[in-house]
């Protein structure tokens, strides 16, 4: 078993141990807090969602009104849910990218055999993938969705694993002696809703008989993990890209439902392992805000510094891998040389190199190491110097410039419609930096620039990340000498329970907005935990970005949109 998991388990037991003496000393005060199923917080949670319930028949009209009249052009998140006898449904979260107003709509249907909800993928492109995910998990059929296939599970998978009454392991026994290769169909179905309310099943071709289809992955060094693209080619031009996902679908959200809140933290680091700090920060922040816990200033600042160090780590790795993919091995070695310095800093304070397990509910695991400030200051100096080296060795390279400038251009409308946040969105001129829009942690007390470019091509996406390293260094420099005194861990109750409600918090992760959606019934484990994946929109946009480019450009585009596969599949 992993050390980190043990650490979290220890955290759980540690938290439970002080409970006994406290209960013994003050039985009158301590008991009601434990016995009550959901302790109401002193003030309403700042991150609570108040979804407006809409009937399935009116859903499309309501979403169209939000999209057209209120300018909600960004579908932030889409979560399927199963409430057993109360029905099955979807929660939509949309945002206006101009004034950053948000709306939340819930649609519930009671028919569990054949649940049907109208699709909204004509309004937001990203809904296409999100709805396929919900179909895969819950079996909700989205009418008028052009491509109703499973997203993560195999096509011959039986049942819908996220339904509360489903037993996926019984329905799909794994026999190591008789494994079969995965079936991949070339046809897909659309459930068309007719005017008179009947549903017609229409067949669509994904690839035709005469199409020349090349498989890239799941085992391919340039897909950054186990990602599978089926690419339709015309000569060397890409006509269509069909990503097949789920080769590393680990069911993190489902297993979280049977874990207590401190236990769920352990899995966040392993989602997007290059944004381990930020993922965990998002989940801790969501739980803290839902409980009404205020963490100390010291924790806020430490978390901000750690998030930024993680961002630099991720962007350096992005640089190294992109260079490696494009054939520049030397640059890869340069990048890893600098990355090791960050890992040393992490290791001193957190004990881990890659999976850090540092944030906890109500604070951080340990106080910062005495050497931390000295080491970080040294690192800032070295990194400022070395980033110039990156430009000298790779950015100016003619081959790289030819392969990236004007390749895979995404317009601002496309990135918003596909919900591509982070560097990919900012390269196309979309101001989506959450650190500026809704400053959390200590971002409101630092000065920094939001790096935005307008070209939208692979080169812009590359430059954004290198420039963001410099901004992150600036942020760290402003905070490193001003870490306020205070507790590094708030005193939490032995058993952590969230009040009844739906909560959503997000942070700016290394590659976009990382959100955590929790539905709580007042228990010690979440009823539904959903992560807004930063990578899923980035893979969904690959078809649009690659169309009309050469096959070799797929590697450049895939490298520069910068996805991490376990974060996509979760």
């Amino acid at each position: 078993m992993s050390e980190e998991l043990k650490a979290t388990a220890n955290n759980g037991t540690e938290a439970q141990k002080p409970a006994a003496p406290a209960a013994a000393a003050k039985p009158a005060a301590a008991r009601p807090a434990v016995a009550r199923p959901a302790a109401a917080p002193a003030k309403p949670a700042v991150n609570e969602l108040k979804p407006k319930t809409v009937a399935a028949a009116d859903l499309h009209a309501e979403m169209k009104r939000l999209h057209d009249e209120e300018g909600m052009d960004f579908l932030l998140n889409l979560t399927g849910e199963d409430w057993l006898e109360d029905g099955i449904g979807v929660v939509y979260q949309v945002e206006n990218t101009e004034n950053h107003k948000q709306a939340c709509v819930k649609c519930v249907v009671s028919d569990r055999e054949n649940p049907m909800i109208p699709s909204v993928c004509d309004l937001w492109d990203i809904a296409n993938v999100y709805e396929r995910e919900v179909y895969d998990y819950y079996g909700i059929i989205f009418t008028n969705h052009p491509d109703m296939r499973r997203l993560f599970m195999r096509e011959d998978w039986v049942g819908y694993p996220f339904r509360k009454d489903n037993d996926p392991e019984k329905d799909n026994p794994f026999d190591p002696q008789h494994m079969t290769n995965e079936p991949l169909a070339d046809v897909t179905y659309e459930y068309q809703l007719e005017q008179d309310g009947t549903v017609k099943k229409v067949e669509h071709q994904i690839f035709g008989e005469d199409d020349y289809v090349v498989n890239i992955g799941p085992q391919h060094p340039s897909t950054h993990g186990v990602l599978h693209f089926r690419v339709d080619l015309e000569g060397e031009m890409i006509r269509k890209v069909d990503p097949i996902l789920g080769y590393i679908h680990r069911g993190v959200e489902k297993i979280s439902e049977s874990m207590t809140y401190p236990q769920t933290l352990a899995l966040t680091d392993r989602l997007d392992y290059l944004g381990a700090m930020q993922n965990r920060h998002a989940l801790c922040m969501c739980i803290e805000q839902a409980m009404g816990v205020e963490v100390s200033d010291r924790v806020q600042v430490i978390r901000t510094i750690m998030d930024e160090l993680q961002r630099i780590d991720s962007h350096i790795l992005f640089f190294g891998c992109l260079c490696q993919d494009l054939g520049a091995t030397t640059a890869f070695l340069y990048a890893f040389r600098d990355r090791e310095k960050i890992l040393d800093i992490f290791e001193e304070t957190c004990g881990g190199r890659l999976i850090l397990n540092y944030n906890t509910i109500g604070g951080v695991m340990y106080d910062i190491h005495p050497n931390f400030q000295k080491r970080v200051k040294e690192f800032i100096k070295i990194m400022r110097k070395n980033i110039q080296e990156y430009h000298d060795i790779f950015t100016g390279n003619v081959i790289f410039q030819n392969r990236s400038k004007g390749v895979g251009v995404l317009t601002k409308e496309q990135v918003i419609s596909f919900g591509c946040t982070g560097g990919t969105g900012r390269a196309s001129g979309w101001h989506n930096d959450l650190r500026k829009i809704k400053p959390y942690a200590a971002y409101d007390r630092v000065q920094f620039n939001e790096i935005v470019r307008t070209e939208g091509d692979s080169f812009a996406r590359y430059m954004i990340r290198l420039d963001e390293i410099k901004e992150s260094l600036n942020i760290i420099e402003q905070l490193i000498d001003n870490i306020p005194e205070g507790n590094y861990q708030e005193k939490m109750k032995p058993i952590i329970k969230l009040p009844v409600g739906t909560f959503y918090s997000e942070v700016e992760g290394s590659r976009g907005r990382m959100g955590v959606f929790i539905e709580s019934k007042g228990d010690k484990s979440p009823y539904r935990l959903h992560y807004r994946s930063t990578g899923l929109p980035l893979v969904a946009v690959m078809d649009t970005a690659c169309k009309g480019n050469m096959l070799a450009d797929l590697i450049t585009i895939g490298g520069t949109v910068d996805y991490v596969v376990p974060d996509i599949d979760r």
Binding site: E169, N172, G246, F336, R353, L354, V565, P566
Partner: protein, 209 residues
């Protein structure tokens, strides 16, 4: 008894030498001709110092694998730096990360495509037992259920040092093998399904359908 010499670490400093000695006994059970043995030593010396890994990574451990290949830990010191992108050219598959049930047939196929003699190193908790995801409905609890594993490297993810230690253990195994007569011949694979069996399964499935 023949023991492998590894320059970096003396024999006594390896942990769990009992298991290793059992393995050595097993490998040398038949005994060998002196001349053949000498030739074996020469070939094994070359093989153990040029194990080419397959570039195979599914999740977090893959990043540590990259770190091991990069400047500070420098896997090239051991001769493992030639990572191959094709299984046909690789000697050893490092299973870095979780293997899901969807990925399992792919991993099995990759293993089948590798040329003998081939080795498997299970890196990290996920590939050893499922790690933190053991309870999941879509995760294979240990790659040793589908392919034979030679070395297990625990950790989540393992530190680069333990990564290298695991690779040195693999070197020790390679160094004591009798190349002529056993290793260079196709060995029986307990997980291999014969063509008849496969046909029978397909037939049964069709019957059921």
């Amino acid at each position: 008894m023949k023991r492998a010499k590894i320059k970096s670490i003396p024999y006594e400093e390896f942990k769990d030498n009992e298991t290793y000695e059992e393995l050595v006994e097993q490998l040398n059970a038949g005994g060998a001709n002196v001349i053949v043995r000498k030739l074996d030593d020469l070939i094994d010396w070359g093989r153990s110092n040029s194990l080419w890994p397959l570039t195979f990574a599914t999740s977090c451990c893959g990043i540590e694998f990259m770190a091991v290949c990069a400047a500070r830990y420098d896997i090239a010191r051991f001769g493992f730096e030639v990572t191959r992108n094709s299984p046909r050219q690789a000697d050893v598959i490092l299973v870095c990360g979780t293997i899901t049930t969807k990925m399992a047939p792919v991993l099995r196929r990759l293993y089948d495509q590798m040329a003998d003699p081939k080795y498997v190193v299970a890196i990290g908790g996920c590939s050893i037992s499922g790690g933190p995801f053991t309870k999941s409905y879509h995760v294979l609890n240990g790659v040793d259920k589908i392919i034979p594993v030679d070395v297990y490297v625990p950790g989540c993810p393992p530190r680069p040092e333990s990564f290298l230690y695991g690779m040195m253990q693999l070197q020790r195994i390679v160094k004591v093998e009798n190349f002529f007569g056993t290793t260079n011949r196709k060995q029986k694979d307990p997980f291999k399904v014969t063509a008849e069996e496969k046909e029978e399964t397909i037939y049964n499935q069709e019957e059921e359908a």
